[in-house]
Amino acid sequence: MKTIEEIKAAIEAAVPGAGVEVVVNPSPCAQHSLRLDPDSALAVARFLRDDPELALDFLSNVTGVDWPDREISEKVKVARTVAKTVDGVEQQVEETVDEIRKRVEPGCLEAVYHLYSVVRKHGPVVIRMRTGNRTDRVELPSLTPVWRSGEFQEREIFDLFGIVFNGHPDLRRILMWDNFKDHPMRRDYVEPDDYEYEPTAHDAVLAKAQAHRAAAQAGAKGQEGAGAAQ
């Protein structure tokens, strides 16, 4: 099979203007991947499937990954002027100080596709696409028109991660019910509060159970109070 660099070159030759970027995977299995530009992804996907040498006719796995906004704090050396008293005289002195700067790296949602070839019996070739952000620019092109096996798996990503796949034939919730509002596989999902009975809770669950118990007790007291008043 071709190396990931050769595949990248082949894609760039076949689909002009395709933004392809190699993502290196440091783990021992060395399954490197290609990040595609969503605008040209459909054309690239068709090329990968139809190219006689690659012939990636089998889309095995589609999944979503949530990368939330990350706060990165880094140390920077900053030059600044400070007023200092040197030898009893006030002077303006230039000096460098370490300053911790915080910046927020915007998050995104990612869809990862694992491709194999049944004809040529090779693989996997991993391709991935990223959305603009996690709130309003969550659209990606659907690859289901190229590989049918994406049909349910892309629906699942839509359901659990909230990526909207443009061009998907039947984009509805698949696992949760239709009027469900949240995307539970996102990392900032808050699950419903049903920690009424947690006899062996610890850590995070214990905190939730205790909060729940306190609320229930307060509610019960409130009701008792109301009953007494009547």
Partner: protein, 392 residues
Amino acid sequence: MTASFKSPAEPKLNNLDLAPSSEPGISGDLLEVAMGPHHPSTHGVFRMDIVLDGERVIRLKPVFGYLHRNHEKIAENITYIASMPYTDRLDYICSLTNNWAYALAVEKLVGLEVPERAEYLRIILGELTRFQNHASTIGFLIQEMGASGTPLMYAFREREKILDLFESLTGSRMMCNYMRFGGCRVDPSAEWLDQVRKVVAGLPAFTDEIDRLLTSNEILMARTQGIGILPPDLAVNAGITGPMLRASGVNYDIRKIDSYGIYNRFTFRVPLGERGDVYDRYMIRLLEMRESIRILEQALKNVPGGPIVDPKSKIRGFRPKPGEAYGRIEAPKGELGFYLISDGGPNPYRYRVRPPSLVNLTILEDMCLGAAVADVVIIFGSVDIVLGEVDR
């Protein structure tokens, strides 16, 4: 069928490049039937919304999620090893192959070596699992056809013998939790291997029995031949794997392609179907059971001694370096894959199961279009799914 029956417009199989049809040709009065989620088949809580024109299916939409147990979300909040018992509960008929797939993915992520003896044990347990899965699948399939009990009872009689082997090695009948990253958990005794040899020696008699009982049965042939045909190009495009794909005549068996474990040391054939109908799928499973016995016989001949787990592997404080890996095996139902992303922490950052059962249902509508409503259950049964894996 009476002469006045008005046949619906020819159901078209979906063009590969097109979306699945949402508005098929419609004629006559339509009846919408919701089959499930509690329906008298033996595949759990699955629902199909079917639109019928008389007796014919003109539209079928599967509805999932009735057993969505949040396996992936739970796994992202617990350690790597703690997910191992949860994988047992994915495809709860074949817990050992699930263990294997997960262990394989982690071994790829970390780069662990599996000792020789453990590889042999994995093959033996994996093939025993495949055997009992196919046996029960055939039993369930015939049960759904209305043969109340008999083949299923025979299958379960055999399955109990295999489950006893699992229990005396791993401690549990169904939820074995046996494999570990870089090996296996307990070292079997020589007596256990002798027990396995004894059981395996009895398995060909069972396949012959099923063969005589069912293969040439005229009723079975009438109900399954030419039903639920799956063309090979559609099968590949829709990501179908396992016995379903091979019944359509596509030679793709991950045991041969990836030769994970030590499968390349064994001689076995990959049975292929011709027409891709329900009967072919039944036959493929029967033939694969025979091939499993062949692999078992070869593997049991010389199980080497030695350690059963990579000394680098550990249970507590297991933190893989950042990276990602996708590991897959040929589970009895198809390609079972695990996709893991590590951020260097004790819990996986992303944990994904590639369920063969879910993807194999992609073409359920295509296979059922135009079929009679009574055949839907058989076609569905021939896909061989387990809901624990479909919904996870």
